[in-house]
Symmetry: C2
């Protein structure tokens, strides 16, 4: 491992290069510290657009940047591609995948969450979730292969099942996934196949709760549901999924034959959260103090999706990108204050609003009491997402892909690779 003891500045170790980890690193750029940022991937992923990689609209490289490239000008940061296996709060060190340890003076844990199957881990093989580029590629693979298999089969029931897509969970990811499939099937793919009519594609969005986009205001949930239904998406509310296997998903008591299920229903926090001698909630998220630190260890901060904080009015802070940015930056602020001999500031959450897009040119948004939906909101969605994308090159290529898709109705990234995955879903006929 890299020798980090030579220099005498305090060593801040950040684990995770998502929104929260990057925000923490950048907010320490002028602080008198040495920083090491560790991530098991070499890239930062812009998660809000992962669903567009999953549906062949954007390339993985459009929504990622190498973490070390992002931080190349910040000379007090060293980036390491490695996996942290264990946190040892008492020894103030972490253990890496290769057996090396890294000591810290401050630790910022920003390893986020994975999708969770609520005790049905066997469902993962049939219903991939969407947290990383690997996940998105696995989803894209299944999405594109389903049409290829439908084109090959002579069995009409099989064909119908292959052209049925079920999305489980109607948060923003599930809604955005469901909303993008109808246009692809009914426009982009329609002239490419000879044996199937892709316009017969069924999209079912299943939600166990009483409404879609449950964290959004009521009227926007209703507007988004109307928009989805206009696109032909079947929205099933108040019905949990009770089984998933290679050939079907069972919604309540109804068995729907399908070979393609996407999971957007739940999260479980990174296992590192359990190693911090701190209280965690049912999803494994760490309860942090007002300064984002862990009570037993003021030198350990937990930020982003891995932490849970309560707002002044008692409601929990939502697990969204702005929260990750704000908590990450706050941990840095606390460290800076402490090194300057000042008291630790408390975290104050600023809610930027709720925003989700539905299909080709609809979106819903809530900013405080202002609720908007429709075409103009979609432009806003587009602008906000482009603005927050890291890197000029990414902004340029995403804008071109979107313009191309908008004008031609085509999807630019219909690429099936890693052919071994073709057989993962079982029978190919």
């Amino acid at each position: 491992m890299v020798d980090t003891t030579a220099v005498k500045l305090p060593h801040v170790l950040i684990v995770g290069g998502g929104f929260a980890g990057l925000a923490a690193a950048r907010a320490l750029s002028r602080a008198p510290v040495r920083i090491t940022l560790i991530d098991r991937a070499n890239h930062h992923t812009f998660q809000p657009l992962l669903y567009q990689v999953a549906t062949a609209g954007l390339a993985p490289s459009d929504i990622t940047v190498p973490i070390r490239w992002r931080l190349r000008s910040q000379r007090n940061v060293t980036v390491l591609m490695a996996e942290v296996r264990e946190v040892r709060p008492r020894e103030r060190e972490v253990l890496l995948d290769d057996g090396a340890t890294v000591a810290y003076d401050y630790l910022i844990v920003a390893t986020g969450a994975r999708h969770a199957y609520f005790g049905h881990d066997d469902w993962e093989a049939y219903a991939p979730g969407l947290k990383s580029i690997d996940d998105a590629l696995s989803m894209r693979q299944r999405f594109l292969v389903a049409f290829e298999r439908a084109e090959r089969t002579l069995n009409p029931d099989k064909r119908r099942a292959l052209l049925t897509f079920v999305i489980v969970g109607a948060g923003p990811t599930g809604v955005e996934l469901a909303g993008s499939i109808p246009d692809i099937a009914k426009r982009a793919f329609v002239r490419d196949f000879r044996n199937i009519d892709t316009r017969t594609t069924r999209v079912i969005l299943v939600e166990a709760g009483p409404r879609i986009l449950s964290t959004f205001p009521l009227d926007l949930s209703a507007a988004a549901q109307r928009d989805l239904e206009k696109l032909g998406v079947e929205v099933r509310l108040g019905t949990p999924v009770t089984n998933i296997d290679a050939d079907s998903v069972t919604i309540g008591a109804e068995r729907v034959p399908t070979h393609t299920v996407f999971w957007a229903a739940g999260n479980v926090a990174s296992p590192l959260g359990k190693m911090l001698n701190a209280e965690t909630d049912r999803a494994g998220r760490v309860h942090v103090a007002a300064d984002c630190s862990v009570s037993a260890h003021p030198e350990i901060f937990v930020v982003g999706d891995l932490c849970t904080i309560t707002r002044a009015d008692g409601r929990p802070v939502p697990a969204v990108a702005p929260t990750a940015n704000q908590t990450g930056a706050h941990a840095a602020r606390v460290i800076r204050a402490e090194l300057a001999g000042n008291p630790r500031p408390a975290f104050a959450y600023f809610h930027k609003g709720d925003l989700a897009t539905i299909g080709r040119h609809k979106a819903v948004a809530a900013f405080g009491r202002v609720h908007v939906s429709g075409y103009f909101t979609w432009f806003l969605w587009l602008f906000v997402h482009l603005m927050y994308l890291v890197g000029f090159r990414n902004r340029a290529t995403v804008l071109i892909q979107w313009a191309y898709a908008y004008v031609t109705y085509q999807r630019g990234v219909r690429l099936i690779f890693d052919r071994n995955r073709l057989t993962q879903t079982g029978d190919r006929r």
Copy 2:
């Protein structure tokens, strides 16, 4: 399988969606035939730019198009994503991966070649070749991971080995790979790492023969070698590689410690060539008649890299993209002639020239007796490659990536995914 017996038009089955297969399909667009094109991938790959995917300059989707999208307007073609396991010339049918058979009246085999290790198949695990997008991603993974591992190690010998890249084989692919690495290491990556100086990267190009680009005119081989050496590439001529393992490559008698070897040294033809009751050469390529058909089976054509044809002057036709296009189109021409009751025309090869690029803005080219090299030739190379890329979107995105790379020296696609591959090369320290 799809029922192709219903319509009475002759059925032309094309296996392979590379340059040759696509050219054959397109040249039959107005012929009175039904066409089925089968490929195990869903996409056509622009192989001449694969090396840029391998070195993180282009995204896979920049140089690929879905085959069915390319042929969407040609209503007499059905595209199937499937793998042909067996050709049965006597039964006039092929066997697919799922056990189905497809009958044909004419068969055009265009399944090309794979890289070959001359009896050292165990080398493949350490030295991937470059024929498909999967190959290119595997190479890119190793290329990027080598720098990540070098940044992590404290052992100077290990670091040196990790920053040594060996390319075996100095045809156009080997030369273009070798020529692109120095600029990446010395410019793009230099500010991103803290523990290593990427300018110390070594690139060794090994060629068993007496010169690089052996199919090019002598003076251009020499010019290309000078250009490579100016970039810092060590060119080793007349020395075969005698061993490759996880930690080293042995060049003649010298053992060079390295963890990253790229294979560009030899090809073996697709195994389908052996199933056609036809004579094959040592590399498994099928000797075809003057009309590109197999003597025992005039209804079977072999085109592209899988066939070998002799020119009027006795020299073999080179295995390059224009040959694939020309032989594919010729098979179609023969079928059209026969269906019109005309005699079968003979294939006449037109040599378009030789063209290879070296590094950031050098290239060599030969058109008949005109031999050129240098900056202007690089522009020509750029123009030719953009022109032959399929699809407006690809041309636009490739041009943007190149402009971006040219101005900033950066590589846009530094993305390591499929993390499981990280450990393939053994020890990660």
